[in-house]
Symmetry: C2
DNA sequence: CGGAATCCTCTTCGATACTG
DNA sequence: CAGTATCGAAGAGGATTCCG
């Protein structure tokens, strides 16, 4: 009975959030479910190192808090998926991804990696980009796509319905563009990235990838009186 | 020697972020420092329940990662403060505060509370508001203020230099406005909030407080192929 | 008094084994 | 496939002590 959970006991929205999603592994589970619904075993393989009892415990808590739901829509294939409330965690998570991009540069390249995580990296990168043409990405055998969807950009696994631009790249080039300010066209010149599409559209994509949503640090810290 | 820290070992900006700021108490320490520089003892009293060794450990790690710095500018009063990189955590943190606002409504009102935390709540609420007049808030003996600062809103402790509007309220009214959609003018009618200022300006403040930055959930989840 | 280190207990995590 | 059960190892919580 893990009914006596630790709590910060603070009347503060951040502390109350962390009481629910601050435990180890929890936000990484949410990250996986932001990519798409997943079965229990999918989550286990997508989160190397998580103990099965922890996964079960976290999922139970997330269900109880209305963040995750277990759907049995398709027979015999129960899947965990985010509720609409849980999906709203995408905004803070993508903000954290943007903040943490700096660590990618100096990270050990031997760390575990799954191509699906690029979906998250691309969402973080492209959020706020305006007028993005439909793009298909092909990275290490996996296909994903980005397209404009009512005022925002949607990035999902799978091929684009009607791509204007197709980008074929390796992991490091995508991460380089997403995190360290490498421009798409420079990456092409280096030879690890191929881009197919109308040149004008390609330039628009290059611009969108540079955009890099400069919404951060709008506040100035000043010494309080 | 806590030199063998747990790591997710994932090449993903979220996991790398959580390796640094995902431990218990860490983000709450950052929250305190977002309000202003703090001495070690200030942090201890502002974070009821934190063990002193944990606070020391977390601060050391935050220093090592370039998020926090110890300044000895004023003699005899060493203070911890956020670096510019650390200040960039404000964006994800305020996003989490906005997400977690729903829990405030059903939270136990007996939870620990410090008036300074309203600075964070107000920053989360007012982010993105346009053309906000200078406002002074007086809550439970503490004074804070909000004002427009190059394209953003800045909320700090202390009185406003030249307030256009002065709002006097109790904690619950501020949290009600910040989290549960209570409008300022309704709160005034209920009698727990006094507002002093030009009526037209007050209406502008009311509008800004309703604004409630609807940047979230721009993405739609769709089943991947 | 500010800023910790130490010690001890309790909880949570992690790894493996096991079950409906 | 989808979890429980178990158990040793870290990590957290609280009190006390130490140092400049």
């Amino acid at each position: 009975m893990a009914e006596t959970r630790r709590s910060y006991d603070q009347y503060c929205a951040l502390a109350l959030s962390l009481d629910r999603i601050g435990d180890r592994w929890t936000l990484l589970i949410v990250r996986e479910l932001l990519i798409g619904p997943r079965r229990y075993t999918d989550l286990r393989t997508a989160l190397p190192g998580i103990a099965t009892n922890l996964l079960a415990d976290r999922l139970r808590r997330l269900e109880r808090d209305g963040i995750v739901a277990l759907t049995t829509s398709e027979p015999g294939a129960a899947r965990y998926e985010l509720t609409s409330f849980g999906r709203e965690l995408e905004t803070p998570i993508l903000a954290l991804v943007r903040w943490g991009g700096r660590w990618l540069v100096e990270a050990d390249p031997a760390l575990q990696f799954r191509v699906e995580w690029l979906v998250i990296a691309l969402r973080a990168l492209l959020a706020g980009a305006a007028d993005l043409p439909s793009i298909e990405f092909r990275v290490d055998g996996e296909t994903m796509h980005a397209r404009s969807v009512n005022e925002g950009i949607d990035v999902q696994l799978g091929p684009a319905p009607a791509p204007s631009v197709v980008i074929t790249a390796d992991r490091d080039s995508v991460m380089g563009v997403a995190s360290s300010g490498l421009s798409l066209l420079d990456a092409v010149k280096r030879g690890h990235v191929q881009v197919v599409g109308d040149p004008k559209t390609v330039r628009a994509v290059d611009r969108a990838l540079r955009h890099r949503t400069e919404l951060r640090s709008r506040y100035r810290s000043a010494d309080p009186g």
